[in-house]
């Protein structure tokens, strides 16, 4: 099976739920396990939240969400045109947060890394951030 969908959404926090439910619905034909579905929904939620509160720092902007199915592999790309990440390595450290006053747990990237098989982060200051992550679903 090969299939792809792209969603362009505003960086409103209301859209976090829409994003993860849309992706969950899109991959439903693959019959993922409840665990796989939950892992993917959580990873999407983390990436979208990052784009909203870090990328756009609560200002309005567009988030580009693409999901591709190749066989039983799910590849998800989340792209923003926000402020970018200064130091990706530091941002990905467990418990690191650039916004300690906002009650961020600092484990967003750790969750994405743990719940997905692969994650790739690219960022350019003042141009934005792209996260690509993938997961192979077990045979149904």
């Amino acid at each position: 099976m090969k299939s792809e969908v792209t969603i362009i959404m505003d960086s409103n926090s209301e859209n976090e739920m829409f994003a993860r439910i849309a992706i969950a619905a899109f991959i439903t034909p693959l019959n993922p396990t409840i665990e796989e579905l939950n892992d993917i929904k959580t990873a999407v939620s983390e990436a979208i939240t990052n784009a909203i509160i870090h990328g756009y720092a609560d200002k309005s902007g567009k988030i580009f969400l693409t999901c591709k199915i190749i066989g039983r592999e799910v590849v998800i790309k989340i792209e923003d045109n926000g402020i970018g990440i200064d130091d990706i390595k530091k941002a990905m450290e467990p418990l690191y947060t650039s916004k300690p006053d906002m009650e961020r747990s600092g484990i967003g990237f750790t969750v994405m890394e743990t719940f997905m098989d692969k994650i790739f982060v690219e960022s350019k200051k003042n141009f934005g951030t792209t996260i690509v992550m993938s997961k192979n679903l077990i045979a149904s």
Partner: protein
């Protein structure tokens, strides 16, 4: 979300997903209710929570820090199995009491 006082406990029953959007609403409401109540502890009832991401973890840790000042405790009740992995990664069990019944 329903918030009720029961003696020294403020019981917060959450319905639905806990993400960044919902976390800020919970934070605001719980802080306000806690201030006006005589409660010392907060019990989160998770029986209707099917999803939580790291924003929810941040919100819980925030309430933990808030109660630390007055010596109160945070309890989380009725956690569904699908929340186990995020709770495990966060290390939340080291500081929060998980219970099966309220």
């Amino acid at each position: 979300m329903q918030i009720n006082s029961a003696g020294k406990d403020l019981i917060v029953k959450i319905d639905g997903d806990i993400d960044h959007h919902v976390s800020s609403q919970i934070k605001e409401k719980v802080e306000r209710e806690f201030e006006f109540s005589n409660a010392e502890n907060i019990i989160f009832d998770f029986s209707n929570v099917n999803f939580m991401d790291s924003s929810g973890i941040g919100m819980i840790i925030g309430r933990y820090k808030m109660l630390q000042k007055t010596g109160g405790k945070i309890y989380i009740a009725n956690v569904k199995p699908q929340l186990e992995s995020i709770i495990e990664i966060s290390g939340l069990r080291k500081i929060i009491n998980f219970i099966d019944k309220i």
